[in-house]
């Protein structure tokens, strides 16, 4: 029996055809290039997100614009006062949010603002930011949270 097997395998070619390998890789490459969203901006504030149970997922990531609110990271460790960050800069004057957001929503009317807020931030600051968002007519918002485990 064993002799028979040996004979058979010796006769046939055992090469895997690799000619189509680049094509397959290119397909994967194009898939990832299309779906990828490059990494978020560097955070200048701390955002430890609160947990929630009744969360929804945002499917269209390209529509999302982030606002970060939290204690500002000080140089050499430690945290300063609460601050608001949009894109890659701290916004000192809150009334400027209106202008920034208005410009953004002109580009993408279906935009969703995702608020990534630290859980120790006082809601007064959050209200101020929300008032600005209302003025800019960017009304679709999302309180970013992490999912709470059922038994936690």
């Amino acid at each position: 029996m064993s002799v028979h097997f040996k004979k058979k395998s010796a006769k046939t070619k055992q090469n895997i055809p690799t000619a189509s390998l680049p094509d397959i890789i290119f397909m994967l490459l194009i898939f990832f290039m299309v779906t990828t969203v490059l990494r978020e901006t560097e955070l200048l504030v701390r955002t430890t997100l609160p947990q929630a149970e009744a969360v929804e997922k945002i499917e269209q990531k390209r529509l999302v614009s982030y606002i970060y609110i939290g204690p500002q990271k000080a140089e050499g460790g430690g945290y300063g006062d609460d601050a608001v960050q949009i894109d890659d800069a701290i916004v000192d004057d809150l009334t400027r949010i209106r202008e920034i957001m208005y410009r953004k929503i002109l580009e993408e009317p279906r935009m969703i603002i995702s608020l990534r807020v630290d859980k120790d931030v006082e809601t007064g600051l959050l209200y101020d930011v929300q008032q600005e968002l209302r003025e800019a007519e960017t009304l679709r918002i999302n309180y970013s949270t992490t999912r709470e485990m059922a038994d936690a």
Binding site: I25, R134, Y143
Partner: protein
């Protein structure tokens, strides 16, 4: 003439053996930089800005469930102290009242939950309470979707065809009003 001769004698081909390697390199770059995980959170719709020609609507008191949170994290629902874990049942009672109890809403369509906190309340508590209110609505919708279609709401929503009316969402619209904040003693710095 000597030029032409030389050209014909050589074969001109681009070597494609390294093509796969180059593609692999790019692939690995995009694999590393990509972030698959979708952002999740509590979706809300802010009210439009209040102007002179767009005053806030008048709402009968019975249709409004007032949820107040002070800076110590104490919760008041309709003026009565309440544990955070009990908010869910209270919201469900309010929305599903169907006009029976005069202190709760007329119909699910008109029921509104008004959510208000002091400026000093921390965001963790804010989300905790909002989560309970939202969870109450999700439970209501799931129950109704099971009655209508025999599946929970997300499955039902996924099965809907383009342009088809979402009966569950139309019957139980989520109406949470984020009211203007209270100054709460001292204004936040």
């Amino acid at each position: 003439m000597p030029l032409l001769k030389r050209r014909t004698s050589r074969e001109s081909e681009i070597p494609t053996a390294s093509m796969a390697d180059i593609a692999f390199l790019l692939l690995i770059f995009f694999l590393v930089t990509t972030t698959i995980d979708a952002d999740s959170g509590i979706y809300m719709q802010l009210p439009p800005p209040i102007t002179d020609d767009n005053p806030p609507p008048e709402i009968p008191d019975r249709n409004l469930l007032m949820v107040l949170v002070n800076s110590n994290g104490d919760v008041l629902v309709e003026g009565e102290f309440m544990q955070i874990t009990n908010i869910r049942d209270e919201v469900k009672r309010h929305v599903l009242n169907q006009g029976q109890d005069p202190s709760y809403a007329d119909s699910p369509d008109e029921a509104i939950v008004s959510f208000k906190t002091e400026r000093g309340t921390d965001y963790g508590t804010y989300i905790e309470v909002l989560d309970e209110i939202k969870a109450a609505y999700i439970e209501i919708r799931n129950d109704y979707a099971r009655q209508v279609a025999g599946v929970d709401y997300n499955t039902y929503k996924g099965r809907l065809a383009e342009g088809e009316a979402d009966v569950v969402a139309d019957t139980y619209p989520i109406k949470i009003s984020l009211a203007e904040p209270d100054p709460g003693g001292q204004p936040a710095s």
